[in-house]
């Protein structure tokens, strides 16, 4: 009887141990954003060599044309939007998505090696999506298909400051008919749901009656047929005592050091010049700590446009 009771205790302890071990081991995966936000990119590698049969009797030799090295990117952006492809941080190709938001870009004249490719799109209001970046090994004489690219939505707000209790519009463009989740940072994050229309435009009216005063950030993601896009860029707004409409001024691109509305090699070179030099200009010092170091370059990499 006593043995049975001890065994029962050990069994209970073992079960609790197993439950908690599972919880602690799997919780970063279960509750991580990666489960719900991973972009599926499928790489199918095929060879292009074809052999033509010889003519006449006796089975003559065949001709094998040289294989081409090619990469084909396909996915979804916004209807009739310009899609830009970067190879190793520099623009190599652009295309215009169809009315169904599908696009395809082929890259030839490429040598074998490892590359970092990035894709982004621009909506009809000139807002850019976040950069979708992925590494890829290209083999010689092989066509590589990269599919399932899902461009994140664009996002903007109609007010830079909104009087508490009033409504602020959060809007942008995504894949047509996709479900949009809008995330607003607050004491606890606020999640709003809306739907993109047939041209991909979405609008979410946020009632700020329950949003605390102060600065907030908002971002969005699209979901379509169980596919989830990456998160959009982040836009800020303030909940205060007055309403200030967002001015239609030229959009300031963070880390754009030469004010050409791009963040690319030129901005990188400007920052490289000031790297470890004293008294850098304020616009180059992206984190305002009085020096140009790795953190400034990290911020630049995050806002890279090519």
């Amino acid at each position: 009887m006593i043995f049975f009771q001890h065994s029962r205790n050990f069994l209970v302890i073992f079960l609790i141990f197993s439950i908690f071990l599972s919880f602690y081991f799997f919780s970063p995966i279960v509750f991580s954003e990666s489960v719900t936000s991973s972009v599926k990119v499928e790489i199918v590698t095929t060879t292009t060599t074809t052999t033509l049969g010889g003519g006449g009797g006796g089975g003559g030799g065949g001709y094998t044309p040289p294989s081409e090295t090619k990469v084909i990117f396909s996915g979804r952006a916004y209807p009739r939007s310009t899609v830009t492809l970067l190879k190793d941080a520099q623009i190599v190709a652009t295309t215009v998505a169809g009315s169904d938001a599908n696009f395809q870009i082929s890259l030839t004249n490429i040598t074998a090696g490892s590359y970092i490719f990035s894709v982004y799109s621009e909506d009809d209001k000139g807002n850019r999506s976040s950069l979708l970046t992925f590494p890829l090994s290209v083999s010689s004489g092989v066509i590589t298909n990269v599919t399932g690219i899902f461009i994140s939505p664009t996002i903007d707000v109609d007010k830079s400051e909104v009087k508490k209790g009033e409504v602020i519009k959060i809007f942008g463009q995504a894949i047509p008919n996709s479900d949009i989740t809008v995330i607003i940072s607050s004491e606890e994050d606020i999640y709003g749901k809306t739907k993109a229309d047939t041209i991909g435009a979405y609008l979410y009216n946020l009632d700020t009656v329950e949003v605390e005063m102060g600065e907030h950030l908002t971002k969005s993601r699209a979901t379509l047929e169980e596919e989830i896009s990456p998160l959009s860029r982040v836009v800020s707004f303030k909940v205060g005592t007055k309403t200030v409409l967002k001015e239609l001024i030229a959009k300031i691109v963070k880390a754009d050091l030469n004010s050409d509305k791009k963040v690319n090699l030129i901005d990188f070179s400007v920052a490289a010049y000031w790297y470890k030099r004293p008294s850098p200009p304020q616009n180059v010092d992206l984190n305002k700590d009085g020096k140009i170091d790795l953190v400034d370059f990290s911020i630049m990499a995050y806002y890279w446009t090519g």
């Binding site: 941080a89 070179s269 010049y273 990290s298 990499a301």
Partner: protein, 318 residues
């Protein structure tokens, strides 16, 4: 009584697990790889520096300091071919202190390898070492604690960041026959010039600079050279200065802005790619000697024709 005891045990177990730190997967991992664990003295080998990232972490910048025993190993070269990094500075080898350092960014960020990717697209760089004759058969290459990995907009990846060292065994038997070592092999096989590129001129701190960057997917870029050229009277480009070694951003004189500039990218195997930049500032018409040459030729031709016609008229009238 027994029930109370059981309940007490259960409570203690629950409390104990509540304070145990959750086992989480690593956010980022820097590790080293070599083709074999043992090398003979005088043998040359490569060590790959690689990065693993667990989504949704997004690595945007890396600064790394690698320590090695300078009595057991000699660091020969740092190859940047196929690196996913855009280097902020040329990687440095300090043989005296036994440190290799490099820093760079990944524009757009890096969230890990894709499933289905046929290759290992996570290479940061490759260091070529030569094993030395040493009394220590066991040596190690490891990351110093001041190495950093930054996420998103400059966030430090302090938690769940792992640095994995590499242990190397040096045998007592020296290499008598020196086969083509890994570095020489890479250079021997590299017949492809660096990627095409376009230099640009930018103004920084009231001065003009030439900026350029390209990649070489085989042996990696060795260095760049810059030359300025000018058009002669016949419209041909003639060099004003020979190609000189230079780094981006390359300082320019005001007078360089009216000249054609050529940038030569040279990889470790000696293959070259030249990019040409037309004059940034068009030459003023009165400084265009070619134009003056045409005008002068026109005047001379006109005078000769006029003189010949005049002569012919005089002869006819006679």
């Amino acid at each position: 009584m027994e029930n109370k005891k059981s309940k007490r045990i259960i409570c203690i177990v629950i409390f104990a697990f509540c304070i145990i730190k959750p086992i989480a997967t690593n956010a980022a991992e820097l590790y080293l790889e070599s083709s074999q664990p043992e090398y003979a003295p005088n043998e040359t080998f490569s060590v790959d520096i690689r990065l693993n990232v667990t989504p949704p972490e997004n690595v945007t910048a890396i600064e790394s300091y690698l320590k090695f025993d300078n009595q057991s190993l000699k660091a020969i070269d740092f190859l940047t071919g196929n690196s996913i990094l855009m280097f902020i500075e040329t990687p440095k080898i300090n043989q005296e202190q036994g440190i290799v350092s490099f820093s760079g960014i990944i524009p757009g960020g890096y969230t890990g390898r894709l499933s289905g990717d046929p290759g290992a697209s996570n290479l940061l760089g490759k260091i070529t070492f030569q094993a030395q004759k040493t009394i220590n058969p066991q040596t190690s290459i490891y990351f110093l604690n001041n190495s950093r990995v930054l996420l998103d907009e400059g966030k430090e990846a302090k938690t769940n960041l792992v640095f994995k060292p590499l242990d190397i065994q040096i045998s007592s038997q020296e290499v008598v026959f020196n086969p083509l070592n890994e570095l020489e092999k890479i250079k021997e096989e590299d017949k492809i010039p660096p990627e095409d590129f376009t230099p640009e001129i930018v103004k920084i701190d009231e001065k003009y600079f030439l900026v350029f960057n390209t990649q070489d997917k085989q042996s990696g870029i060795d260095h760049y050279e810059v030359a300025t050229l000018k058009e002669n009277l016949f419209g041909q480009l003639t060099p004003i200065s020979n190609f000189e070694k230079g780094e981006s951003p390359y300082p320019l004189k005001e007078s360089d802005l009216t000249k054609t500039i050529k940038v030569k990218a040279i990889d470790k195997a000696g293959n070259t790619r030249i990019a040409t930049l037309n004059p940034y500032v068009p030459i003023k018409w009165y400084k265009n000697y070619w134009l003056w040459g045409i005008i002068l030729l026109g005047i001379i031709s006109g005078y000769i024709v006029y003189h010949l016609k005049l002569k012919s008229k005089r002869q006819k009238s006679k």
